[in-house]
Assembly symmetry: C2
Homo-oligomer: 193 residues x 2
Amino acid sequence: MSKRELKKDFLLEAGIKVMATCGYNGTSIQDIVDAAKVPKGSFYTYFKSKEDFALAAIDMVAEDRIKLSKSLLNDRNIAPLARLKTFFESSIPGCDSNVNGGCFIGNMCQEMSDSNEAIRLKVRQMMRNKTQMVEDLLDEARMDGSLKNPVSSNLLAEFLFNAWEGTLMRMKATKCREPLDAFVSTLPSIFGN
Amino acid sequence: MSKRELKKDFLLEAGIKVMATCGYNGTSIQDIVDAAKVPKGSFYTYFKSKEDFALAAIDMVAEDRIKLSKSLLNDRNIAPLARLKTFFESSIPGCDSNVNGGCFIGNMCQEMSDSNEAIRLKVRQMMRNKTQMVEDLLDEARMDGSLKNPVSSNLLAEFLFNAWEGTLMRMKATKCREPLDAFVSTLPSIFGN
DNA sequence: AATTTACAGACGACCGGTCATATAGTGCAA
DNA sequence: TTGCACTATATGACCGGTCGTCTGTAAATT
Protein backbone atom coordinates (compact mmCIF):
# COMPACT_ATOMS: atom_id res chain seq x y z
CA MET A 1 0.00 0.00 0.00
CA SER A 2 1.42 3.35 -1.07
CA LYS A 3 2.28 6.14 1.31
CA ARG A 4 -0.61 8.13 -0.08
CA GLU A 5 -3.10 5.35 0.48
CA LEU A 6 -1.85 4.89 4.02
CA LYS A 7 -2.43 8.52 4.83
CA LYS A 8 -5.80 8.45 3.18
CA ASP A 9 -6.81 5.48 5.30
CA PHE A 10 -5.48 7.20 8.38
CA LEU A 11 -7.61 10.23 7.62
CA LEU A 12 -10.59 7.95 7.03
CA GLU A 13 -10.18 6.08 10.28
CA ALA A 14 -9.88 9.25 12.32
CA GLY A 15 -12.79 10.87 10.54
CA ILE A 16 -15.05 7.86 10.87
CA LYS A 17 -14.71 7.99 14.63
CA VAL A 18 -16.02 11.55 14.65
CA MET A 19 -18.68 11.03 12.03
CA ALA A 20 -19.99 7.92 13.77
CA THR A 21 -20.95 9.95 16.79
CA CYS A 22 -21.70 13.39 15.32
CA GLY A 23 -23.23 12.35 12.00
CA TYR A 24 -22.55 13.69 8.53
CA ASN A 25 -23.92 17.20 8.93
CA GLY A 26 -22.66 17.37 12.50
CA THR A 27 -19.08 16.74 11.41
CA SER A 28 -17.08 19.44 9.66
CA ILE A 29 -13.98 19.01 7.54
CA GLN A 30 -12.22 20.83 10.33
CA ASP A 31 -13.35 18.18 12.83
CA ILE A 32 -11.99 15.44 10.60
CA VAL A 33 -8.56 16.96 10.01
CA ASP A 34 -8.29 17.91 13.68
CA ALA A 35 -8.96 14.31 14.69
CA ALA A 36 -6.26 13.15 12.28
CA LYS A 37 -3.90 15.99 13.23
CA VAL A 38 -3.58 16.97 9.59
CA PRO A 39 -3.76 20.49 8.14
CA LYS A 40 -7.09 21.40 6.68
CA GLY A 41 -5.68 22.16 3.27
CA SER A 42 -4.55 18.56 2.92
CA PHE A 43 -8.04 17.16 3.07
CA TYR A 44 -8.76 17.92 -0.56
CA THR A 45 -5.60 16.16 -1.67
CA TYR A 46 -7.23 12.87 -0.69
CA PHE A 47 -10.93 13.54 -1.08
CA LYS A 48 -12.62 15.65 -3.67
CA SER A 49 -15.45 16.63 -1.34
CA LYS A 50 -17.10 15.86 1.96
CA GLU A 51 -19.52 13.55 0.19
CA ASP A 52 -16.59 11.71 -1.37
CA PHE A 53 -15.15 11.23 2.10
CA ALA A 54 -18.42 9.83 3.44
CA LEU A 55 -18.72 7.37 0.57
CA ALA A 56 -15.18 6.15 1.18
CA ALA A 57 -15.92 5.95 4.89
CA ILE A 58 -18.96 3.74 4.31
CA ASP A 59 -16.85 1.51 2.08
CA MET A 60 -14.15 1.16 4.69
CA VAL A 61 -16.52 0.40 7.55
CA ALA A 62 -18.52 -2.13 5.54
CA GLU A 63 -15.39 -3.83 4.25
CA ASP A 64 -13.99 -4.18 7.76
CA ARG A 65 -17.23 -5.62 9.08
CA ILE A 66 -17.70 -8.02 6.20
CA LYS A 67 -14.17 -9.29 6.51
CA LEU A 68 -14.73 -9.89 10.22
CA SER A 69 -18.11 -11.50 9.66
CA LYS A 70 -16.89 -13.81 6.90
CA SER A 71 -14.27 -15.37 9.14
CA LEU A 72 -16.88 -16.01 11.82
CA LEU A 73 -19.59 -17.18 9.47
CA ASN A 74 -17.59 -19.86 7.75
CA ASP A 75 -16.57 -21.71 10.89
CA ARG A 76 -18.40 -24.99 10.34
CA ASN A 77 -17.52 -26.19 13.83
CA ILE A 78 -20.20 -23.92 15.23
CA ALA A 79 -23.93 -24.44 14.59
CA PRO A 80 -25.36 -22.03 11.98
CA LEU A 81 -27.77 -20.29 14.31
CA ALA A 82 -25.07 -19.81 16.92
CA ARG A 83 -22.96 -18.25 14.18
CA LEU A 84 -25.83 -15.96 13.33
CA LYS A 85 -25.87 -14.65 16.87
CA THR A 86 -22.13 -14.07 16.66
CA PHE A 87 -22.62 -12.39 13.33
CA PHE A 88 -24.97 -9.84 14.81
CA GLU A 89 -22.82 -9.19 17.82
CA SER A 90 -19.68 -8.78 15.74
CA SER A 91 -21.27 -5.98 13.78
CA ILE A 92 -21.04 -3.66 16.74
CA PRO A 93 -17.59 -3.20 18.22
CA GLY A 94 -17.45 -3.31 21.99
CA CYS A 95 -21.20 -3.27 22.28
CA ASP A 96 -21.18 -3.58 26.05
CA SER A 97 -18.58 -1.00 27.00
CA ASN A 98 -18.88 1.65 24.31
CA VAL A 99 -22.49 2.12 23.28
CA ASN A 100 -21.66 5.33 21.45
CA GLY A 101 -21.80 5.56 17.70
CA GLY A 102 -23.93 2.53 17.03
CA CYS A 103 -23.93 1.31 13.46
CA PHE A 104 -22.19 3.80 11.19
CA ILE A 105 -24.03 2.58 8.13
CA GLY A 106 -27.35 2.71 9.93
CA ASN A 107 -26.62 6.25 11.06
CA MET A 108 -25.78 7.37 7.54
CA CYS A 109 -28.91 5.67 6.28
CA GLN A 110 -31.22 7.57 8.59
CA GLU A 111 -29.54 10.93 8.26
CA MET A 112 -28.67 11.03 4.57
CA SER A 113 -30.97 8.75 2.58
CA ASP A 114 -33.45 11.51 1.84
CA SER A 115 -30.93 14.19 0.94
CA ASN A 116 -28.01 12.45 -0.77
CA GLU A 117 -28.75 9.85 -3.40
CA ALA A 118 -25.15 8.60 -3.77
CA ILE A 119 -24.92 7.83 -0.07
CA ARG A 120 -28.35 6.23 -0.08
CA LEU A 121 -27.41 3.86 -2.91
CA LYS A 122 -24.14 2.91 -1.28
CA VAL A 123 -25.88 2.23 2.03
CA ARG A 124 -28.56 0.19 0.30
CA GLN A 125 -25.93 -1.98 -1.34
CA MET A 126 -24.11 -2.60 1.94
CA MET A 127 -27.33 -3.58 3.65
CA ARG A 128 -28.24 -5.87 0.81
CA ASN A 129 -24.86 -7.59 1.13
CA LYS A 130 -25.25 -8.15 4.82
CA THR A 131 -28.80 -9.39 4.44
CA GLN A 132 -27.56 -11.92 1.90
CA MET A 133 -25.06 -13.23 4.41
CA VAL A 134 -27.87 -13.75 6.89
CA GLU A 135 -29.95 -15.48 4.28
CA ASP A 136 -27.17 -17.92 3.42
CA LEU A 137 -26.76 -18.76 7.07
CA LEU A 138 -30.49 -19.34 7.47
CA ASP A 139 -30.46 -21.66 4.48
CA GLU A 140 -27.68 -23.61 6.06
CA ALA A 141 -29.61 -23.84 9.31
CA ARG A 142 -32.67 -25.04 7.48
CA MET A 143 -30.64 -27.83 5.92
CA ASP A 144 -29.47 -29.21 9.25
CA GLY A 145 -32.95 -28.89 10.72
CA SER A 146 -32.23 -26.26 13.35
CA LEU A 147 -34.40 -23.66 11.61
CA LYS A 148 -38.07 -24.59 11.54
CA ASN A 149 -39.73 -21.25 10.88
CA PRO A 150 -41.79 -21.70 7.69
CA VAL A 151 -41.14 -18.17 6.43
CA SER A 152 -38.69 -18.12 3.52
CA SER A 153 -35.05 -17.55 4.32
CA ASN A 154 -35.15 -14.47 2.16
CA LEU A 155 -37.95 -12.77 4.07
CA LEU A 156 -36.70 -13.96 7.41
CA ALA A 157 -33.22 -12.63 6.67
CA GLU A 158 -34.67 -9.24 5.77
CA PHE A 159 -36.71 -9.26 8.93
CA LEU A 160 -33.83 -10.23 11.19
CA PHE A 161 -31.29 -7.88 9.72
CA ASN A 162 -33.67 -4.94 9.99
CA ALA A 163 -34.63 -5.99 13.50
CA TRP A 164 -30.98 -5.94 14.44
CA GLU A 165 -30.44 -2.50 12.97
CA GLY A 166 -33.46 -1.27 14.93
CA THR A 167 -31.99 -2.77 18.07
CA LEU A 168 -28.72 -0.93 17.54
CA MET A 169 -30.71 2.25 17.09
CA ARG A 170 -32.60 1.65 20.31
CA MET A 171 -29.28 1.20 22.07
CA LYS A 172 -28.36 4.73 21.09
CA ALA A 173 -31.45 6.03 22.84
CA THR A 174 -31.05 3.96 26.00
CA LYS A 175 -27.25 4.01 26.20
CA CYS A 176 -27.30 0.52 27.60
CA ARG A 177 -27.17 -3.01 26.23
CA GLU A 178 -30.60 -4.03 27.43
CA PRO A 179 -32.16 -3.87 23.92
CA LEU A 180 -29.37 -6.09 22.66
CA ASP A 181 -30.10 -8.66 25.36
CA ALA A 182 -33.80 -8.57 24.52
CA PHE A 183 -32.90 -9.27 20.92
CA VAL A 184 -30.66 -12.19 21.71
CA SER A 185 -33.18 -13.64 24.18
CA THR A 186 -35.95 -13.50 21.63
CA LEU A 187 -33.97 -14.85 18.70
CA PRO A 188 -34.31 -18.61 19.46
CA SER A 189 -38.09 -18.37 19.64
CA ILE A 190 -38.12 -17.09 16.08
CA PHE A 191 -36.25 -20.07 14.71
CA GLY A 192 -39.07 -22.39 15.75
CA ASN A 193 -39.12 -25.55 17.85
CA MET B 1 -56.34 27.25 21.68
CA SER B 2 -54.85 30.75 21.71
CA LYS B 3 -53.70 32.58 18.62
CA ARG B 4 -50.15 32.26 19.83
CA GLU B 5 -50.41 28.51 20.26
CA LEU B 6 -51.95 28.16 16.82
CA LYS B 7 -49.06 29.95 15.19
CA LYS B 8 -46.56 27.97 17.20
CA ASP B 9 -48.17 24.74 16.04
CA PHE B 10 -48.19 25.99 12.48
CA LEU B 11 -44.47 26.72 12.68
CA LEU B 12 -43.93 23.28 14.20
CA GLU B 13 -45.86 21.45 11.51
CA ALA B 14 -44.05 23.22 8.70
CA GLY B 15 -40.67 22.73 10.35
CA ILE B 16 -41.24 19.06 11.10
CA LYS B 17 -41.77 18.38 7.41
CA VAL B 18 -38.34 19.80 6.63
CA MET B 19 -36.56 18.29 9.60
CA ALA B 20 -38.04 14.85 8.90
CA THR B 21 -36.25 14.71 5.58
CA CYS B 22 -33.15 16.84 6.17
CA GLY B 23 -32.45 15.96 9.81
CA TYR B 24 -31.60 18.24 12.70
CA ASN B 25 -28.23 19.47 11.56
CA GLY B 26 -29.36 19.55 7.95
CA THR B 27 -32.18 21.94 8.74
CA SER B 28 -31.49 25.60 9.46
CA ILE B 29 -33.77 28.04 11.25
CA GLN B 30 -34.03 29.77 7.89
CA ASP B 31 -35.32 26.57 6.30
CA ILE B 32 -37.98 26.27 8.97
CA VAL B 33 -39.26 29.83 8.72
CA ASP B 34 -39.14 29.68 4.93
CA ALA B 35 -41.33 26.57 4.98
CA ALA B 36 -43.80 28.34 7.25
CA LYS B 37 -43.52 31.61 5.31
CA VAL B 38 -42.69 33.49 8.49
CA PRO B 39 -39.90 36.03 9.02
CA LYS B 40 -36.84 34.65 10.70
CA GLY B 41 -37.07 36.97 13.70
CA SER B 42 -40.42 35.47 14.62
CA PHE B 43 -38.92 32.07 15.25
CA TYR B 44 -37.46 33.15 18.56
CA THR B 45 -40.79 34.52 19.73
CA TYR B 46 -42.05 30.94 19.91
CA PHE B 47 -38.94 28.88 20.53
CA LYS B 48 -35.98 29.82 22.62
CA SER B 49 -33.53 27.83 20.50
CA LYS B 50 -33.25 25.27 17.74
CA GLU B 51 -32.98 22.54 20.36
CA ASP B 52 -36.18 23.80 21.97
CA PHE B 53 -37.90 23.54 18.60
CA ALA B 54 -36.73 19.98 18.09
CA LEU B 55 -37.95 18.92 21.53
CA ALA B 56 -41.35 20.43 20.84
CA ALA B 57 -41.37 18.77 17.43
CA ILE B 58 -40.72 15.35 18.94
CA ASP B 59 -43.53 15.98 21.41
CA MET B 60 -45.95 16.92 18.69
CA VAL B 61 -45.13 13.97 16.44
CA ALA B 62 -45.29 11.47 19.29
CA GLU B 63 -48.54 12.92 20.60
CA ASP B 64 -50.17 12.70 17.17
CA ARG B 65 -49.05 9.12 16.68
CA ILE B 66 -50.09 8.01 20.16
CA LYS B 67 -53.50 9.57 19.79
CA LEU B 68 -53.96 7.76 16.48
CA SER B 69 -52.65 4.48 17.86
CA LYS B 70 -54.83 4.59 20.99
CA SER B 71 -58.01 4.78 18.97
CA LEU B 72 -56.95 1.77 16.90
CA LEU B 73 -55.58 -0.25 19.78
CA ASN B 74 -58.67 -0.13 21.93
CA ASP B 75 -61.04 -1.51 19.32
CA ARG B 76 -62.00 -4.79 20.97
CA ASN B 77 -63.86 -5.91 17.86
CA ILE B 78 -60.55 -6.69 16.21
CA ALA B 79 -58.22 -9.47 17.37
CA PRO B 80 -55.21 -8.18 19.37
CA LEU B 81 -52.57 -9.38 16.95
CA ALA B 82 -54.42 -7.87 14.01
CA ARG B 83 -54.50 -4.62 15.93
CA LEU B 84 -50.77 -4.90 16.47
CA LYS B 85 -50.24 -5.03 12.75
CA THR B 86 -52.42 -1.96 12.34
CA PHE B 87 -50.52 -0.29 15.12
CA PHE B 88 -47.25 -0.67 13.29
CA GLU B 89 -48.66 0.44 9.99
CA SER B 90 -50.35 3.48 11.50
CA SER B 91 -47.03 4.75 12.79
CA ILE B 92 -45.94 5.65 9.30
CA PRO B 93 -48.24 7.93 7.34
CA GLY B 94 -48.77 6.95 3.72
CA CYS B 95 -46.12 4.27 3.89
CA ASP B 96 -46.70 3.08 0.36
CA SER B 97 -46.86 6.37 -1.51
CA ASN B 98 -44.50 8.63 0.42
CA VAL B 99 -41.50 6.71 1.68
CA ASN B 100 -39.65 9.89 2.49
CA GLY B 101 -38.94 10.97 6.01
CA GLY B 102 -39.51 7.65 7.70
CA CYS B 103 -39.96 7.79 11.45
CA PHE B 104 -39.15 11.26 12.73
CA ILE B 105 -38.38 9.99 16.20
CA GLY B 106 -36.16 7.26 14.83
CA ASN B 107 -34.31 9.79 12.73
CA MET B 108 -33.71 12.06 15.70
CA CYS B 109 -32.59 9.07 17.72
CA GLN B 110 -29.89 8.09 15.27
CA GLU B 111 -28.66 11.56 14.50
CA MET B 112 -28.79 13.24 17.89
CA SER B 113 -28.56 10.64 20.68
CA ASP B 114 -24.80 10.91 20.92
CA SER B 115 -24.58 14.69 20.79
CA ASN B 116 -27.67 16.07 22.55
CA GLU B 117 -28.70 14.56 25.86
CA ALA B 118 -32.06 16.37 26.11
CA ILE B 119 -33.18 15.02 22.74
CA ARG B 120 -31.90 11.57 23.60
CA LEU B 121 -33.90 11.44 26.82
CA LYS B 122 -37.05 12.66 25.13
CA VAL B 123 -36.68 10.09 22.35
CA ARG B 124 -36.03 7.34 24.88
CA GLN B 125 -39.22 8.22 26.71
CA MET B 126 -41.30 8.18 23.54
CA MET B 127 -39.92 4.82 22.53
CA ARG B 128 -40.59 3.45 25.99
CA ASN B 129 -44.20 4.61 25.75
CA LYS B 130 -44.73 2.97 22.41
CA THR B 131 -43.08 -0.25 23.54
CA GLN B 132 -45.42 -0.33 26.51
CA MET B 133 -48.39 -0.14 24.18
CA VAL B 134 -47.06 -3.13 22.26
CA GLU B 135 -46.51 -5.03 25.49
CA ASP B 136 -50.09 -4.43 26.64
CA LEU B 137 -51.38 -5.69 23.34
CA LEU B 138 -49.21 -8.79 23.54
CA ASP B 139 -50.51 -9.49 27.03
CA GLU B 140 -54.03 -9.27 25.72
CA ALA B 141 -53.19 -11.66 22.89
CA ARG B 142 -51.67 -14.10 25.34
CA MET B 143 -54.89 -14.08 27.37
CA ASP B 144 -57.03 -15.07 24.43
CA GLY B 145 -54.55 -17.71 23.31
CA SER B 146 -53.51 -16.19 20.01
CA LEU B 147 -49.95 -15.52 21.18
CA LYS B 148 -48.02 -18.69 21.94
CA ASN B 149 -44.43 -17.47 21.84
CA PRO B 150 -42.94 -18.36 25.26
CA VAL B 151 -40.77 -15.23 25.43
CA SER B 152 -42.13 -12.70 27.94
CA SER B 153 -44.38 -9.98 26.59
CA ASN B 154 -41.90 -7.42 27.82
CA LEU B 155 -38.95 -8.81 25.88
CA LEU B 156 -41.05 -9.60 22.85
CA ALA B 157 -42.47 -6.09 22.78
CA GLU B 158 -38.98 -4.63 22.89
CA PHE B 159 -37.93 -6.93 20.11
CA LEU B 160 -40.89 -6.16 17.88
CA PHE B 161 -40.84 -2.42 18.36
CA ASN B 162 -37.14 -2.23 17.58
CA ALA B 163 -37.59 -4.54 14.62
CA TRP B 164 -40.24 -2.21 13.29
CA GLU B 165 -38.02 0.83 13.69
CA GLY B 166 -35.28 -1.00 11.86
CA THR B 167 -37.71 -1.80 9.08
CA LEU B 168 -38.64 1.85 8.70
CA MET B 169 -34.96 2.67 8.51
CA ARG B 170 -34.43 0.09 5.81
CA MET B 171 -37.28 1.65 3.88
CA LYS B 172 -35.33 4.88 3.76
CA ALA B 173 -32.45 3.10 2.08
CA THR B 174 -34.57 1.16 -0.42
CA LYS B 175 -37.21 3.83 -1.06
CA CYS B 176 -39.80 1.10 -1.44
CA ARG B 177 -42.19 -0.76 0.82
CA GLU B 178 -40.65 -4.17 0.31
CA PRO B 179 -39.04 -4.23 3.80
CA LEU B 180 -42.41 -3.40 5.28
CA ASP B 181 -44.00 -6.31 3.49
CA ALA B 182 -41.27 -8.64 4.67
CA PHE B 183 -41.95 -7.49 8.22
CA VAL B 184 -45.68 -8.05 8.00
CA SER B 185 -45.23 -11.44 6.31
CA THR B 186 -42.89 -12.61 9.03
CA LEU B 187 -44.88 -11.31 11.96
CA PRO B 188 -47.37 -14.24 12.30
CA SER B 189 -44.58 -16.79 12.50
CA ILE B 190 -43.26 -15.01 15.56
CA PHE B 191 -46.49 -15.28 17.47
CA GLY B 192 -46.25 -19.09 17.41
CA ASN B 193 -48.61 -21.79 16.30
C1' DA C 1 13.46 19.78 -15.01
C1' DA C 2 8.90 18.21 -14.70
C1' DT C 3 5.25 16.56 -12.19
C1' DT C 4 2.79 15.55 -8.16
C1' DT C 5 1.65 16.27 -3.31
C1' DA C 6 1.30 19.29 0.95
C1' DC C 7 -0.68 22.93 3.04
C1' DA C 8 -1.67 27.92 4.75
C1' DG C 9 -4.75 31.18 4.14
C1' DA C 10 -8.64 33.22 2.15
C1' DC C 11 -13.24 33.00 -0.13
C1' DG C 12 -18.24 33.93 -0.10
C1' DA C 13 -22.09 31.75 1.94
C1' DC C 14 -24.53 30.55 5.64
C1' DC C 15 -25.01 29.29 10.58
C1' DG C 16 -27.70 30.06 15.25
C1' DG C 17 -28.93 33.77 17.72
C1' DT C 18 -29.68 38.96 19.10
C1' DC C 19 -31.55 43.44 19.04
C1' DA C 20 -33.65 47.91 18.15
C1' DT C 21 -37.51 49.37 16.35
C1' DA C 22 -42.27 49.11 14.56
C1' DT C 23 -46.78 47.52 15.10
C1' DA C 24 -50.80 45.38 17.30
C1' DG C 25 -53.41 44.23 21.23
C1' DT C 26 -55.20 45.04 25.97
C1' DG C 27 -57.21 47.22 30.16
C1' DC C 28 -58.74 51.24 32.13
C1' DA C 29 -60.25 56.07 32.99
C1' DA C 30 -62.94 59.47 31.29
C1' DT D 1 -67.11 55.26 22.64
C1' DT D 2 -62.81 57.48 22.93
C1' DG D 3 -57.99 58.44 24.31
C1' DC D 4 -54.11 56.76 26.51
C1' DA D 5 -50.44 54.02 28.83
C1' DC D 6 -48.55 49.68 28.65
C1' DT D 7 -47.44 45.06 27.22
C1' DA D 8 -46.81 41.53 23.69
C1' DT D 9 -45.71 40.35 19.14
C1' DA D 10 -43.38 41.26 14.47
C1' DT D 11 -39.51 41.96 11.86
C1' DG D 12 -35.25 42.12 9.15
C1' DA D 13 -30.74 43.91 9.58
C1' DC D 14 -26.96 42.39 11.92
C1' DC D 15 -23.48 39.76 15.07
C1' DG D 16 -19.41 36.71 15.56
C1' DG D 17 -18.36 32.45 14.06
C1' DT D 18 -17.99 28.37 11.09
C1' DC D 19 -19.09 26.12 6.90
C1' DG D 20 -17.22 23.57 2.50
C1' DT D 21 -14.21 24.62 -0.98
C1' DC D 22 -10.50 26.75 -3.69
C1' DT D 23 -6.04 28.86 -4.95
C1' DG D 24 -1.18 29.93 -4.99
C1' DT D 25 2.95 28.34 -3.70
C1' DA D 26 6.36 25.49 -1.24
C1' DA D 27 8.13 20.93 -0.82
C1' DA D 28 8.78 16.42 -2.29
C1' DT D 29 9.12 12.94 -5.66
C1' DT D 30 10.06 11.22 -10.16
